[in-house]
């Protein structure tokens, strides 16, 4: 992993006089020079608008953009790359579904099922849609180990259910949902559509969307070594074809007349305006980089780190770890609290040691309320972290205890 660290220029940075220890990859990952170079190279050599120009540069830019789409499709097991819609991020992908598919299909008396542990991005769009259209939002709880309550999940689904939306990997608990099993339950009990939030899964483990049995799957580029501003919505072709456009304008049209317009083919029907071409190119480079390492290896590395982190953190007096202690059951995030010290105070003192962690409600306020905590500190790992980063985190927490006289 030493070799991998060397690929990330930012990791050489000093923060408050210390070597940066970056433990906030669940918020956003750092970028390897291969990704930074690909973006820079695109702007230096191929930049033009896509799909319209006749000139050479435009053809090159189009090839780069559409090539990235094919790479992303292959990376997550999608055979037909026209089912991959590029958006800004996972949040926009979910909103696209809520506005386009949701407002067409969810009516008064219908039910939408989510879990209590969703990120706000997979909670608020459904909550608002339910309010707007008179539907009911049903919320499935988790058990004391941070696992989804499967019995309650099964019970929540009925013939009234129109959509079931849930996370693949929780950004707070680290819980990995058995998405295939959950999808099978939904498909057995109802005709509901299934949306999976894969923002914390695709960067960290092998994901084959074609084997899950869901209808929508979303993820974002910046958490998987790619740039910010590029996210992915995957939807089955027949659904995408039926869905009305979300944004109108250039690129998404087939023909515009004074009184009416017709829409472009998939996926461009959903990509109005000039897209983030450089972002897609950067994401393509990130996919290349991750594929070279192999997602099985990424997952294995994170299991080792989480195992070590849980072992060391659980030995510190006053540290309470949130969620399962079994590293095989959780992704590369470990959320914790130090006695009654506020997570922001923990994060500030760790920052003084050059250690970057996330603190607060992690955009999961319903979950925090359910757990009965106001906030939590969270360390999250990626391929460029190693055990020495965990050691520094542990030293940092000892310092927090010292400052707060614990």
């Amino acid at each position: 992993m030493k070799v991998i660290k060397a690929d990330f220029p930012i990791l050489d940075k000093k923060v408050n006089g210390r070597n940066l220890v970056y433990l906030d990859s669940a918020a956003t990952s750092q970028k390897p020079k291969q990704v930074i170079d690909a973006i820079s190279d695109y702007y230096r050599n191929n930049n033009a608008n896509v799909h319209r120009g006749i000139h050479t540069l435009s053809v090159e830019a189009t090839e780069a953009y559409e090539g990235a789409r094919k790479k992303v499709a292959g990376f997550v097991g999608v055979k037909d790359s026209s089912e991959i819609v590029f958006v800004r991020n996972a949040t926009e992908a979910i909103n696209l579904v809520a506005y386009s598919w949701g407002r067409l299909n969810i009516e008064k008396g219908d039910e939408v099922v989510v879990t209590v542990a969703e990120h706000h991005s997979n909670f608020v769009p459904w909550q608002q849609l339910a309010i707007e259209n008179g539907a009911t939002l049903k919320i499935v709880p988790i058990d004391s180990d941070g696992e989804l309550d499967i019995e309650a999940f099964e019970k929540a689904i009925s013939s009234k259910t129109k959509l079931v939306a849930f996370f693949h990997v929780s950004n707070v608990l680290g819980t990995i949902n058995d998405v295939k099993r959950l999808s099978t339950i939904v498909n057995r009990k109802s005709k509901a559509r299934i949306l999976i939030d894969g923002a914390q899964a695709v960067p960290h483990m092998p994901v084959d969307i074609s084997k899950i049995g869901c209808d929508f799957y979303v993820f974002t580029g910046h958490k998987m070594l790619g740039p910010t501003g590029i996210g992915v919505l995957w939807t089955r072709r027949e659904l995408l074809s039926q869905m009305p456009p979300f944004l109108f304008g250039g690129e998404m049209i087939s023909k515009v007349q004074l009184a009416k317009s017709t829409w472009n083919e998939l996926p461009w029907k959903f990509e109005a305006g000039t897209p983030d071409i450089a972002g897609a190119v950067g994401l393509g480079a990130a996919v290349d980089y991750l594929s070279k390492i192999g997602m099985e290896n990424v997952r294995k590395h994170e299991i080792e780190l989480v195992e070590y982190a849980v072992k060391r953190l659980s030995k510190i007096k006053d540290v309470q770890i949130i969620g399962s202690l079994d590293p095989k059951k959780r992704g590369g995030v470990v959320a914790f609290n130090v006695d009654d010290i506020h997570a922001h105070d923990v994060a500030s003192i760790l920052d003084s040691e050059g250690i970057a962690i996330r603190s607060g409600h992690h955009c999961a306020q319903p979950l925090m309320e359910y757990l009965g905590i106001k906030s939590a500190a969270r360390a999250s790992f990626y391929i460029y972290n190693d055990k020495s980063d965990v050691d520094k985190l542990v030293e940092g927490i000892e310092k927090v205890r010292k400052v707060f006289k614990r």
């Binding site: 408050n16 006089g17 010290i341 506020h342 997570a343 922001h344 105070d345 500030s348 003192i349 920052d351 003084s352 603190s359 607060g360 409600h361 306020q365 925090m368 106001k374 906030s375 310092k399 400052v403 707060f404 006289k405």
Partner: protein, 123 residues
């Protein structure tokens, strides 16, 4: 300056023993304030008589910086004229806290000040 120096004795003392912590059941004015950084909520209670803050209390939860700031400011405004409270600046608050806080934590330091700025509009 590193962050541990931001956690001065003065801040830690007020965090440990916040002054005026509690509820005034017959308050003339109650103001809720949410810290957008973390969603933490504090509620301030004021007794106001002849244009003066006669009593003040606050409740809720927060980090050491926001609690210390609320504690120190509540002490500071007691018996002050409501009309003069708008003169309190962020700089004054930092002085009362005994020095600067990390830039990312200014919202926490100024949470109580935001409440005080809302008094005039509400009373």
């Amino acid at each position: 300056m590193t962050n541990d120096l931001y956690y001065r004795e003065r801040i830690l003392e007020h965090w440990q023993n916040p002054q005026n912590f509690g509820v005034i059941s017959d308050a003339d004015l109650v103001i809720d304030q949410v810290n957008p950084l973390c969603g933490d909520e504090v509620t301030f209670y004021f007794k106001i008589n002849s244009g003066k803050i006669k009593d003040v209390a606050f409740s809720g939860s927060g980090c050491a910086i926001s609690i210390a700031s609320a504690s120190i400011l509540s002490e500071n405004i007691r018996n002050k004229k409501v009309s003069t409270l708008c003169r309190i600046t962020g700089e004054d608050v930092l002085k009362l806290l005994g020095g600067p806080v990390a830039p990312a934590r200014l919202k926490c330091a100024f949470l109580a000040l935001e409440v005080i700025r809302r008094i005039n509009g509400n009373s």
